[in-house]
Amino acid sequence: MPDFPAVTQLAIPFFIIAILVEMLAVKFGWGKGEFEMKDTFASLAMGVGNVVMGIVFGFISYGILIWFWQFRFFDLGFHWWVGLIAFLLDDLRYYWYHRFAHTIRWFWAEHVNHHSSQHYNLSTALRQSWTGHFTGAVMLSVPLVLLGFHPAFTAFVYGFNLVYQFWIHTEAIDKMPRWFEAVMNTPSHHRVHHATNPRYLDANYAGTLIIWDRMFGTFVPELAEDPPRYGIVRNIGTFNPFKVALHEWVAMARDASQSGLSLSQRLKYLLMPPGWSHDGSRKTSSVLKADFVRRNPGEAGKPGLAVTVGERGRVPAE
């Protein structure tokens, strides 16, 4: 087996240089964007913590996949074309992981910290999870392993996916050429994903290829008349990286351990979408969208919003 390098670690100098260039662009008005010292450091601390957690606990995820490797149906080897197919299939795997990470609170608890900044700049890309090795999301990679893609190979190509996703965390780039916006995930598409405007909630889950969102009905375009507001629906009041990493786990544990709940209600606090509550006192994304349409009936049926007032479904853009 080839000795695959850790792509994301090798990219660290590029990440730093790119952040510095973006800062200069913002300072001298070459591109749109905003930085805040504490926010940037919280994001970088989350990135460092993610690397540390990968070094210390990465063996858990890798060990699970290696265990499954013995049950593989094929062994596709390490040819370049195998890597290309692995990249595409892993990008599809990432789409579903990401969709679950926004629609199942157990996974959201791990992923929310990436969305917890109210800024959107390249440092936000590094605001990564510390708890990803403990959620079981690694099981989504098992089908690839069983198909014959070696875990080390899929980890290697996933590194390129993550590096690709770095540059799209910026306001400095408006729109890319039309053909590129049609196929690839771009800063514009990903700004939508990080926005809390009701129409933009739960949209654009893509890693590298935006075609998955277009295929599965979750694509919403960025509208000039509704600029993205970044962050989460209930923004956090801290820059402390430990609180950033753990706040939703704490909130979920508190909710699920309230007195007087049935076992089913406790489980729903772990498995239902963020915002679900047993007494209906909170709002999920679909309720927030429906509320928005109720207040703005003229927006009904537009991408990301329900067709009629009260309908809690989603309308795909295309």
């Binding site: 660290i12 300072k27 926010d39 801290t238 609180k243």
Partner: protein, 138 residues
């Protein structure tokens, strides 16, 4: 990658970013200057909230709002952004008055557990405490 390379690389990177932010002066603090700003900020996050009254903290970094449904709204400036909350009575762990014009607010909120609110006059502090606790003698 060996830790002997990875760790220095990260440290140098962090230092460069710190120096750049400082030299470029990119950070700025925001303030809540007017009552209508406070209401607008709360209503952006809670569009169904109906604000009856609001008081600004004397340093312009926070505001407390009385809502029609009996709960209280909070807006806090955090760096160059704002954090908003609608707090019901059971979200408030303690409201402690310090001196005539200061309130120390403790919330059942993991990321915003404590808020210090200074007001220009004792009457405002008393009013804010009443909105938060419902207790006229707070």
């Amino acid at each position: 990658m060996p830790l002997t390379i990875l760790v220095p690389m990260i440290l140098v990177g962090l230092a460069l970013v710190a120096v750049a932010i400082h030299l470029l002066g990119l950070s700025k603090d925001v303030f809540i200057s007017t009552i209508s700003d406070a209401i607008r900020l709360l209503e952006t996050d809670f569009p169904d909230a109906i604000v009856e009254e609001a008081i600004l903290a004397s340093n312009g970094k926070a505001a407390i709002l009385k809502l029609e449904d009996g709960s209280a709204g909070l807006v806090e400036a955090m760096g160059d952004r704002y954090v908003t909350r609608v707090v019901a009575r059971n979200d408030v762990r303690q409201v402690e008055r310090k001196g005539d014009c200061e309130l120390v607010l403790r919330l059942a909120d993991f990321t915003l557990p404590r808020l210090i609110l200074n007001f220009t006059e004792p009457k405002a502090a008393l009013k804010a405490a009443t909105w938060l606790t419902g207790n006229q003698n707070a």
